[in-house]
């Protein structure tokens, strides 16, 4: 996984609350058993004029010239709620998004972000609103920086507007994963001996969990 340390980019506002993963990628856009080929389906229901079509709806933020090349989304509360489909994160990532800044995230969506090099940054609603207001004046000359090393979101002073700086908290494990681009399975397999020791203990403590002997599939 590609490390994510610091990103400075155009930020697009999508400030409604409860943006669900059906909206991020409709199920009908998940056409093959694959983690790729999903960017065209991103926000399909809002982004295109017709269901299944590909004619851009000019009213949708990512279709506006000011926000082309956006790599940061500013979102509302409970971003990514609903279905666990990781396709929502794969679609965002493939489109180019590397950070979503929102007051809160649905837990499965946030975990999926971490596993794919996309940072779910929690900031209070008024901070997200301040960033959106700052960007709105001229999105292209007012990029936002997400700094995972310092755990802060910044916007530089520009045209008389003061600089903005919002620190955020991030759990250490997730932050390390993003900063180093780590593969969680590789990390965990270093604890193989602990896992095997657990299983030996657990087979006697909770034999009903371990289906080896009384598994109806295997005893017939």
């Amino acid at each position: 996984m590609e490390p994510l340390r610091e990103i400075t980019a155009v930020a697009a506002p999508l400030l409604r609350d409860n943006v669900d993963t059906d909206a991020i990628i409709p199920s009908r856009e998940m056409k093959t058993v694959s983690k790729t080929g999903l960017a065209d389906g991103l926000f399909a229901g809002w982004r295109y004029t017709a269901i299944g079509g590909r004619e851009p709806d000019p009213s949708f933020v990512l279709n506006q010239a000011d926000f082309s090349g956006a790599r940061i989304l500013l979102g509302g509360a409970n971003f990514g709620c609903g279905s666990s489909r990781e396709h929502a994160v794969w679609a965002l990532h493939e489109y180019g998004i590397r950070a979503v800044i929102a007051p809160s995230f649905a837990p499965i969506f946030a975990a999926n972000c971490i596993r794919n090099g996309l940072s779910p940054v929690r900031l209070p609603a008024d901070a997200v609103a301040a960033l959106a207001a700052h960007v709105a004046v001229d999105p292209r000359s007012r990029p936002i920086t997400v700094d995972m090393l310092r755990c802060e979101v910044r916007a530089a002073a520009v045209d008389g507007a003061a600089a903005l700086r919002f620190p955020f908290t991030f759990d250490a494990e997730s932050r390390d994963m993003l900063l180093e681009g780590l593969d969680a399975i590789d990390l965990t397999l270093k604890h193989r001996a602990d896992i095997e020791a657990f299983l030996i203990r657990d087979r006697s403590a909770r034999p009903w969990i371990h289906l080896g002997r009384h598994n109806p599939d295997r005893s017939t």
Partner: protein, 471 residues
């Protein structure tokens, strides 16, 4: 040892190793996969050359896009869907995983078949790349939805790296009124505390009204913990749980079952265990609920009017957008809204008791003209049991379609849908924009309310449907 909650005890029992910052490496007892999101996990794992650590604890079903019309095969209504079924089958077989396949008599929706087969057990950790995995918390398990990459991790290592959540107890005391169900309680909690109300928490449902629920109703309640943005929900195992599990195929049998029950009795939280947050609900306050908008928190009592902006808890713009999408106005009586479709099914409400309660309302009656009504049993076992009682005849005589089991029209995958601007009363869990089809308008409710509404041709209070005289 300090007093512990049910969650604490399950967590502690599964810690393989403490990692940094409140994250633990947790042992995972059961992994479930389905063709929609499990297929891609198996494919990813195979591509990385990583074997499944213990295939005997992994199970796979075909539920999400599998056809639900009688006589079905691998072909799907969703364009290209057959490839998901074929690839899932091939990958699962190659990995040595038990598949409840399209024609398997035990096939069904993952969160219906796992409990009914005795795969979900008290105290177990259970994951599936599916948000409604929380349903299985009803058995006193720690069961939660994950992404496909996390599923790969669970398959390859038998563990997950999990940040310990805070603990929230929702105590529901008293008794639910007649005609009020676990579904109404779930919607009531969402309406009162919002869809982000469980953010950062694992929820334990407790109190006399929860203990009084049967096992299937408990599953309905826990099912919507993900709509609350909680990690999951769970209920302490008790005699109801043990009676439900006794004799189920994958549950321990005989003396092994008795030994397991003895251990499971110790899982209930200590009396003086402390929660990080407490919510108390008076069961008598809960009416039959129905959603009016495009979020599960947009729910009100069925006798209510569509709320005005400012009284709904939604931001004004979100409120206006939801009204516009749903084609309704503030102040309209919900119970007057004409419907064109009714759907009974999904991992929330498709079990035998759900079908029985709906059938009790439908028996001897016909759905209103112009209403398309569909019933999709949650598993083939549920379907057979319902048919043995003649429930299929009650549904079909009333004008319902009677389907094979699967997730069906709970969500739109590009195949079947109800149509643009059609108004559906549905026993499902999500009323998001276009969830059941492009521009389809979904009102979530209990199976009873769906049945009563189908008969009336408009959203209707099931308590007002006169019961036919006992024959």
């Amino acid at each position: 040892m300090a007093p512990r909650t049910l969650f604490d005890k399950i967590w502690d029992q599964h810690v393989v190793r403490e990692l940094a910052d409140g994250v633990a490496l947790l042992a995972i007892d059961r992994v479930f996969l389905h063709e929609r999101t499990g297929s891609v996990a198996l494919k990813g794992l195979a591509a990385a050359g990583r074997p499944v650590l213990d295939p005997a604890r992994v199970f796979c079903t075909m539920d999400h896009i599998v056809d639900t019309f009688p006589g079905r095969g691998d072909a799907t209504r969703m364009p290209g869907g057959e490839a998901f079924i074929l690839e899932t089958r091939a990958a699962a077989r190659a990995a040595g995983i038990r598949v409840f396949d399209v024609r398997d008599p035990q096939q069904g929706i993952v969160h219906v078949i796992s409990p009914e087969l005795g795969l979900a057990l008290p105290g177990a950790t259970i994951v599936c790349p599916d948000s409604h995995t929380c349903t299985q918390g009803a058995l006193g398990a720690l069961a939660w939805g994950i992404g496909s990459t996390e599923a790969e991790h669970a398959l390859a290592t038998g563990t997950l790296r999990v940040k310990r959540p805070r603990r929230l107890r929702i105590s529901v005391e008293g008794r639910l009124a007649p005609g009020v169900t676990a579904k109404d309680l779930a919607l009531f909690i969402l309406a009162r505390h919002g869809v982000a109300g469980g953010d950062g928490f694992v929820v334990e449902y407790a109190g006399s009204a929860v203990r009084a629920l049967d096992m299937e109703a408990r599953m309905t309640l826990c099912n919507m913990a993900t709509e609350f943005s909680a990690m999951t929900g769970l209920i302490a195992p008790d005699e109801v749980t043990f009676d439900y599990l006794r004799g189920r195929p994958y549950a321990p049998q005989g003396v092994a079952f008795d030994a397991a029950v003895a251990a499971w009795r110790d899982l209930a939280g200590d009396a003086d265990a402390v929660f990080d947050r407490e919510i108390r609900i008076d069961a008598a306050e809960v009416p039959p609920m129905v959603t009016w908008g495009t979020s599960p928190q947009h729910a009100v009592g069925i006798d209510s009017a569509v709320p005005a902006a400012g009284s709904s808890g939604a931001a004004p713009e979100a409120h206006a957008r939801a009204l516009s999408y749903m084609g309704i106005e503030a102040g309209q009586a919900l119970a007057s809204l004409p419907i064109t479709a009714a759907f009974i099914g999904s991992c929330t409400n498709s079990r035998l008791s759900d079908l029985r309660r709906a059938a009790a309302i439908l028996r001897g009656r016909r759905v209103a003209p112009g209403v398309r009504a569909i019933c999709v049993p949650g598993s083939m076992s549920v379907k057979r049991a319902a048919e043995a009682e003649g429930l299929d005849k009650v549904f079909t005589d009333a004008g319902f379609e009677w389907r094979e089991s699967g997730c069906s029209m709970c969500f739109f995958a590009g195949g079947e849908s109800f149509g643009p601007r059609e108004r559906v009363v549905s026993s499902t869990n999500r009323n998001f924009e276009s969830r059941q089809g492009p521009e389809t308008r979904t009102h979530i409710a209990s199976p009873e309310t769906v049945a009563a509404s189908a008969l009336a041709g408009h959203i209707a209070d099931p308590r007002r449907v006169a019961r036919p005289e006992a024959a």
